[in-house]
Symmetry: C2
Amino acid sequence: MTTLYYSPGACSLAPHIVLEEIGKPFDTVRVSLRDDEHKQPAYLAVNPRARVPALAVDGQILTESTAICLYLADCNPQLGLAPPVGTFERARMQEWQAWLTGTVHIDYGQLWRPERYSDDQSAHPGIIAKGKAAAALHYDDIEQRLGGPFALGERYTVVDPYLFVMQRWGYRIKLDMSRYPRFNALAQAMYARPAVQRAMEREHLKPIG
Amino acid sequence: MTTLYYSPGACSLAPHIVLEEIGKPFDTVRVSLRDDEHKQPAYLAVNPRARVPALAVDGQILTESTAICLYLADCNPQLGLAPPVGTFERARMQEWQAWLTGTVHIDYGQLWRPERYSDDQSAHPGIIAKGKAAAALHYDDIEQRLGGPFALGERYTVVDPYLFVMQRWGYRIKLDMSRYPRFNALAQAMYARPAVQRAMEREHLKPIG
């Protein structure tokens, strides 16, 4: 059995959606970041790095949202959730994944976990402010690059659920989301998908925006 | 023609090595981060995000080190620089890539570019100190997870050149590298490869450690 460890609305929503797109049976385990469940021994035994998501499959644990999403896509090639191997389109999808992981996701690290970046509490307001300013710039970048309706254009791929999570987070930090019509259109296209609706229902999430 | 934009010793060394492993003709353009060449109009026309590496291929630009490395591997499957698609081994490689991108690389962002994390200059020493402390913890994690001699064990893959860059950076920030015998063995295995030697010679780099 495949088991996804997730926290409601976290970036683990992306592989959760991909699992629903695939439609094969899977289990879920809720690990609430808000309740610090990711720091408890039960979860540290699954992922010592204390982050979600984690995927248990065939007795092995896989972490990192983008790696999990791509693995699930590659195990189910008939669904076309990732472009064919060796194409530039696939490389473009992986560029999106890497940039979201190493840049946009970090903005939220600064905003929500400034203690990761300095032990000096008096520095935290400045770290948070810079995270929010960087996110606004990065959302401008996303808006400019989106093919529409999805990241790669007409083709839906496993980077879109990750972008969808980021669009929802934009509201949480009160970015001016009216600046991003293409990004919002991507989210609306996601909300219309039954797989997205099922994952959101299990995580007790509601549409935003 | 394929053209790599790189800065000496930066993470662009990873795709540079992969290009040398493949052995097909390619051009290089030096974009020195030290001389702020990545912020000049000539390079911003290539990559508006002002980061290296960038790969120009068939009139398109691809960024993000891990995406470039994997694309190059996938265009040359006969070399086996990435495990087969759909295998757990490949997922493990991509987990390494994502974690290095979103976690270890960020430690160096804090150390070398604290202005990315706060506009308040008085906060920078704390951000730098935390980056170094985090790097030490993350290098412990790397050491524990390395299969040896390479990340996935006997099999050399495109994540190893990225780890090699990180091992060299560990010396630059004066981490106690004697704590990491397996990580050092990976670097030694890299130094022994002719492709690595060629890329280093072109970047005018010398072995460290």
